[in-house]
């Protein structure tokens, strides 16, 4: 039983990691009062640029950095349009996704079929030798460890730091925050860039570790699932992490069921993560008060200092 359980849990962790990154990043963006629907596009750019960097330089760190910068670069376009030029957030986010799908396919056209062995696993000495827990928790690559660390950091940042408080204030009432003298536009820009960088890493994880290769449109809706996770988690980091693992679990469960030949067509099993997303959205949105209580009050609203 343990022989099956350990690999299953490890694959759940790998399936959940990109969702943790993308959803935490989007959560910070949304906390500042900005809704960026371009997660899917930013992830794809992170995936393709990260893959190019790592196959060209064979440096893992450069690959991750490139993925991060690609995501942040995409989000900078979004920030310029939404913050600088007052464009509608929903439409601009959609544009970012459409653009990202096209651009990543264009940039990555020579990469289809290029092989990469995946970023190395870094077993933590001693800890990884503990039976059962060791292989599950302490034999991963740097990005998986990073996802644990970043969850704790984001949680700490929002709860315990002054900067986190200011971020939340900007998201809850940009006019009040502006009146007190906080630079609303600058703070939102930073939050958007953070969201982009995290989406970039999420994409990079897909092409550098999860797959590891580049295929057009390889994020397959994970960016949108990340967006749903933020709502599901009612904008709380711990719940984002939990939600990501719930989805990773469903994804892996259906893959295993397919492999074992559960008698259900593979397409039906592949529908499960998407149907589950709809289910959790319904369950959480049903309670309108809960959503209103927790969502950043200014989300989606444009801000111009003169008005």
């Amino acid at each position: 039983m343990v022989d099956i359980l350990i690999p299953a849990i490890i694959t759940i962790i790998t399936a959940s990691t990109p969702l943790v990154y993308a959803a935490l990043g989007e959560m910070i963006t949304e906390k500042s009062g900005v809704l960026n629907l371009g997660v899917e596009g930013m992830m794809l750019m992170g995936a393709v640029i990260g893959f190019i960097a790592v196959t060209q330089t064979s440096s893992v760190m450069l690959g991750i950095l490139a993925a991060m910068l690609a995501g942040a670069g995409m989000s900078l376009i979004f920030a310029m349009l939404v913050l600088g030029l007052q464009a509608t957030q929903v439409a601009t986010g959609l544009a970012l996704t459409i653009f990202g799908i096209g651009l990543s396919a264009l940039v990555g056209q020579g990469l289809v079929g290029v092989a990469y062995e995946g970023i190395p696993k870094l077993p933590i000495p001693l800890l990884s030798d503990i039976p059962f827990i060791g292989p599950i928790l302490f034999k991963h690559d740097i990005l998986v460890y990073g996802s644990f660390v970043i969850t704790v950091l984001v949680s700490w940042f929002l709860r315990k730091t002054r900067a986190g408080l200011i971020l939340r204030a900007v998201g809850d009432s940009h006019d009040a925050a502006h009146a007190i003298g906080y630079p609303v536009i600058k703070i939102r820009c930073l939050a958007i860039l953070f969201g982009g960088a995290m989406a970039g890493i999420a994409g990079g994880y897909l092409s550098l570790s999860y797959s590891p290769l580049w295929i057009e449109n390889m994020s397959a809706g994970r960016g949108w699932i990340a967006l749903a996770l933020v709502v599901f988690a009612t904008w709380r980091p711990g719940r984002v992490f939990f939600g990501a693992y719930l989805f990773g679990g469903i994804t892996i469960l259906q893959l295993h069921a397919q492999a074992m030949g559960a008698g259900v067509p593979s397409q039906v099993m592949s529908m499960l993560p998407y149907l589950a997303t709809i289910m959790v959205l319904v369950l959480i949105s049903r309670d309108q008060k809960k959503i209103k209580m927790n969502s950043p009050a200014c989300i989606g609203q444009p801000f111009h200092p003169s008005s």
Binding site: A87, G221, Y274, H304
Partner: protein, 359 residues
């Protein structure tokens, strides 16, 4: 001189119409840069992209073939966007329309009657409406975000299509290829211009433009949609039902997308395949915005975006340019449009560089 934005006292109506043209010009400039980066002669590439496809009658007909689904879906989506209902799952609704239309065609495979096509159209519309009714129900009943639910359902629809063409709807004499039987003549759309693929769907796209224009300008529901979109509070005070608007716009969008999907399988494709659309449902979002959420505007925007599809295919054949350039063009166009729209509400002013900060 430092540029800055100054709010206009009221929205500029001129800019509403000029903005798409500035955006198009900027997109073309962006295209020139893109082609240079790809190591192609910009002049040659621009010609291959935007002129060469329209040098023959067949090319113009193909423009209509590509524009029909875009216009059909684009005009319907623009109604929803006006009301603040973000149906971005039109691709899934299109897929369901294609599936249901095909089911009718395959069910009536032996029947040679003039009623086959109308029944297929009804099937397509109902299929699309059914798929759109799910986000509508979840939004009105459970307050679930329609952006996310309609999009998730698109992935489900594409998997459903794959399931059906690999299984129940597969051609029994087709050597196990994942495709349905080729439709009979009775189930195929009539061709409008001999020697081309321009089909009846183009006529329906034009009817849709006229119909939606009438709906928006003359009907009560059209008025309600405009009010709810621009001033939700005023709409509520006037007693307009938000839920009814959500249902109406989603069902309309779903029905039209379903019809477009049925037209695709019954017209240019002629059978059900695992992939039936190059993302028309998503691109129609761009059509709606570039068309200023106006039916007539969507018609022209649909033709423009259709040209980008044709140009992409042509440039791939003649210049060996990757087909993904089309998507980049479409994304750029929407970006530049959204950027230029700032001019509707703001003026660009310049202030001299001062050594003192005014805060």
């Amino acid at each position: 001189m430092i540029p800055y934005l100054e709010k206009r006292a009221e929205h500029s109506r001129t800019m509403v119409y000029i903005s798409p043209f500035i955006a198009l010009a900027l997109t073309l400039l962006g295209g020139i840069m893109l082609f240079s980066l790809l190591g192609k002669s910009p002049a040659q590439a621009m010609y291959a992209f935007f002129v060469a496809p329209l040098t023959s009658l067949y090319g113009w007909a193909e423009l209509g073939v590509k524009a029909s689904p875009l216009v059909l879906i684009g005009v319907a989506l623009s109604i929803g966007f006006r009301a603040g209902v973000w149906n971005i799952g039109a691709e899934g609704q299109l897929t369901l329309g294609a599936i249901c239309g095909s089911c009718v065609a395959l069910w009536l495979y032996q029947v040679d009657s003039v009623f086959v096509l109308p029944l297929m159209m009804v099937g397509g519309v109902l299929g699309g409406m059914f798929w759109a009714s799910i986000p509508a129900f979840l939004k009105t009943r459970f307050n679930a975000n329609e952006i996310l639910t309609s999009l998730m359902l698109t992935y489900v629809a594409l998997l459903l299509l794959s399931l059906l063409v690999h299984g129940p709807l597969r051609d029994p004499d087709g050597f196990n290829f994942p495709e349905s039987r080729i439709f009979h003549d009775a189930a195929s759309l009539p061709i409008m211009v001999n020697g081309t693929r321009l089909h009846l769907g183009a006529v329906f796209a034009l009817i849709a433009v006229g119909g939606i224009w009438l709906l928006l300008s003359k009907s009560l529901i059209g008025f309600q949609i405009k009010v709810i979109g621009q001033a939700p509070a005023a709409g509520r005070h006037a007693g307009f039902s938000v839920n009814r608007t959500i249902w109406f716009t989603l069902l309309l969008g779903g029905g039209m997308a379903g019809l477009a999907g049925m037209f695709e399988v019954s017209g240019p494709i002629g059978q059900l395949l695992p992939i039936i659309s190059p993302g028309y449902g998503f691109t129609a979002i761009i059509v709606a915005f570039v068309g200023r959420l106006h039916p007539v505007g969507s018609l022209f925007a649909g033709l423009l975006i259709a040209l980008s599809y044709l140009g992409g295919e042509n440039a791939q054949i003649t210049l060996n340019l990757p087909i993904a350039v089309t998507g980049v063009f479409q994304g750029m166009l929407l970006f530049f449009l959204l950027a230029c729209d700032v001019l509707i509400r703001y003026r660009i002013r310049f202030k001299p560089v001062s050594r003192f900060r005014h805060g």
